[in-house]
Symmetry: C2
Subunit: 422 residues, 2 copies
């Protein structure tokens, strides 16, 4: 355990953030935006120092033999820092969700009843190597009036410490409490369990990372969590589908960025169209270097192309790789039954031209995002017009699907009367 | 353990309800409403049989020495049954929240992006003696497109079994799955823990009852919960308050129904107004038979009236009885500091005529319901115009404050494109 870790007492740190959250919750938009813009400037002017701190993390990580994919996520480049500061300017430009009135009625008793958006309080984000999350999560939490506890990965400790100094300096330079954010670094599971029990001090936990992290949080947290879980995304190609569009969606949704949660993992092909569509899809996947795992019906139409026989384990698998499962199903019923059984409530797509079938699919498949004739890649906060994204929730409580600023708030009742009693 | 309890296997029961929830989620409003109206008719025509079953529960409960307050909650009277069927007719008349479009935009890529209300899936309600909750909870869950698991109290087992038969008959008579509702009765904590681990089958748990029940659920549940917790409601009487209004609110909010969660538990009096208001408030409480626990400043103005010295334990206590804590505070700052420290995020009131002070209080005190110049009694789903209420949440996630039909739904993204990829 490093000296830095030894200094961190979960209840003490969380109490300070809790106290600050009282002030953050009523900070005027102008101050929140000034802090974000100030921070953007500090990031730009401190890029050298940040890259130096990150260099030490990278060196240690290489010495520990961290895999290449993790190293890439850990690295802070000049371009990456530029993206962070640009992101801060974008969040500053978004409308402030706090104080927005979503209902305003006078009820029978004469009371004026409003529902008003308010911050959640204290949000804890638990993530892994990526230091950019430190800045993103802070910006979204602050803009939504929340204080935040950021639990970053041990690998990024030096990068995050350098970033945290900038965050605190930006807060203080505009008279906002520096304790609006606390960065903690620990790899000690007991400490983590302690943190996850502080339901009196922390309102929401968002774990962002691999299955192991999410399961650990789910099992050990007494604090409500919103989970960004696996994306087992399906595309159903209906008999009425435009085959050019279908091929384009099915290929690009796999190949353009295979390791992200909105990647297509399974294509369901309507039996009526299988003879026409299976061969061209297989050809397109072969050309793109994608391994296909198909059921018997798919393999019957393979016409010499290589198809790995799919086993039961292939349905419902998130490959996050250049592998795709392909299955022939009996129409809309077959597609819905497959998705209900194996889907993960993330993103599911129908490719079809028949309006009735499209509407039936969009109504029956109740994943957090269902799309007709578009790539699952569009399940993304920016693409859906949220202006920002802190994750994609696959649990139905609080927020379902892409989470932006609004989803980092709640609503309370504000009631004005003239002496009513009952 | 009774024969009935031995038949209940948590995963088997929950799986059946899960399966039914697929159908319930897309039931047309007309069918849901027909089931509710049918059930209202069955309740009316089966009142005799229901009271007979309830009579057996009452007899057993008396033999076990259940306290009088619990017996009153357990009892089903003809009037109570009439209220249940009237409640069902009201829920049938409410607008269906499912399918309501809350956002409808065309974004830059040309995609049409909608946010659409959808059911949560399977809701589990855990409650105690009151059999009326069985009907209320079923009605609200069904109307919001959810299947439900109802875990009633052991004391009400016979009453609930009789009610469950009617629920299932009403569902079946309109072609809806009888498994849309399952009633389970167990007092076995191991079984309860098993149920609370079924996060893959149940989407939300709502515990409704005493502190022991809520703590048990909070500690043992892997399923998201919305808690209806203690109501430590405050009223702050500001120097600018109308003293007639203040007295009326402070007295009726304690005496009209002392054991409910929206009862006033603590009056905070601005120091500037204490000499004028304390004596008349104490007099009014004495006349109403309310015991006052006051701090030194209150007792200094008691003028011979009896005031129990308040101890630290009195601040933040939910008495649910004819006892009230009264404290003198230094203006708005003092009131906010007290409420932040001792409040329960339920309901807090300001009595004042100064607009600036009112607005500052309503902004700074972020309880689920804050009221100006009205009784905390109005924090109630019906009074706030929700048409129904399944509880009052004191946690900020998902729903904060009074929960009606909308709060039993979530929202998902429905996106229509024309072949977009990225």
């Amino acid at each position: 355990m490093s000296a830095q870790e030894a200094l961190f007492e979960p209840r003490v740190v969380a109490s300070r953030v809790r106290e600050a959250s009282r002030i953050v919750s009523t900070l005027p938009s102008a101050i929140k935006n000034a802090v974000l813009l100030d921070l953007a400037g500090r990031l730009d002017s401190s890029a050298g120092a940040l890259m130096a701190a990150n260099g030490e993390d990278m060196e240690a990580a290489r010495a520990e033999g961290l895999p290449e994919a993790k190293l890439r996520r850990l690295e802070l480049t000049a371009a990456g820092i530029g993206q962070m500061s640009e992101g801060l300017r974008q969040v500053a430009a978004l409308p402030d969700p706090v104080g927005v009135v979503t209902r305003d009625d006078v009820v029978a008793s004469g009371l004026r009843v409003q529902k008003v958006r308010c911050p959640l309080g204290v949000v804890m984000m638990i993530y892994e190597a990526r230091p950019g999350v430190t800045v993103d999560a802070f910006a979204l939490c602050l803009k939504a009036g929340n204080a935040c506890l950021l639990k970053g990965g041990r690998e990024a400790a030096r990068s995050n410490a350098a970033l945290a100094e900038l965050l605190r300096a930006s807060l203080e330079s505009h008279g906002a409490p520096a304790d609006s954010v606390a960065l903690v670094t620990t790899s000690d599971r007991e400490r983590m369990r302690e943190l996850l029990q502080l339901a009196d001090l922390i309102d929401l936990v968002i774990p962002r990372g691999g299955r192991g992290l999410i399961d650990f949080v789910r099992t050990n947290s007494a604090i409500p969590t919103v989970q960004h879980d696996a994306g087992v995304c399906h595309a159903f190609v209906h008999a009425s589908a435009d085959l050019d569009v279908s091929e384009r969606v099915c290929v690009s949704a796999k190949t353009s960025s295979p390791a992200t949660c909105n990647t297509l993992e399974c294509v369901l092909i309507d039996r009526d169209i299988a003879p026409a569509f299976v061969p061209r899809l297989l050809q397109a996947y072969a050309a793109a270097g994608v391994e296909v795992r198909g059921d018997d019906a798919v393999r019957a139409h393979a016409g010499g192309l290589s198809v790995t026989p799919a086993s039961e384990a292939d349905w419902g698998t998130e490959y996050l790789d250049l592998i795709v499962a392909v299955r022939v199903v009996d129409g809309l019923e077959g597609a819905c039954a497959h998705i209900h059984r194996y889907g993960s409530n993330h993103t599911d797509v129908i490719l079809a031209q028949d309006e009735g079938t499209i509407e039936a699919f969009l109504a029956r498949v109740q994943s957090s995002c269902v799309l007709a004739n578009a790539s699952p890649r569009f399940n993304d906060g920016f693409q859906l017009g949220l202006g920002a994204e802190i994750g994609i929730s696959t649990t139905r409580l609080h927020a379902y699907g892409a989470m932006g600023l609004e989803e980092l708030t709640t609503q309370r009742y504000v009631v004005r009367g003239s002496g009513q009693t009952r």
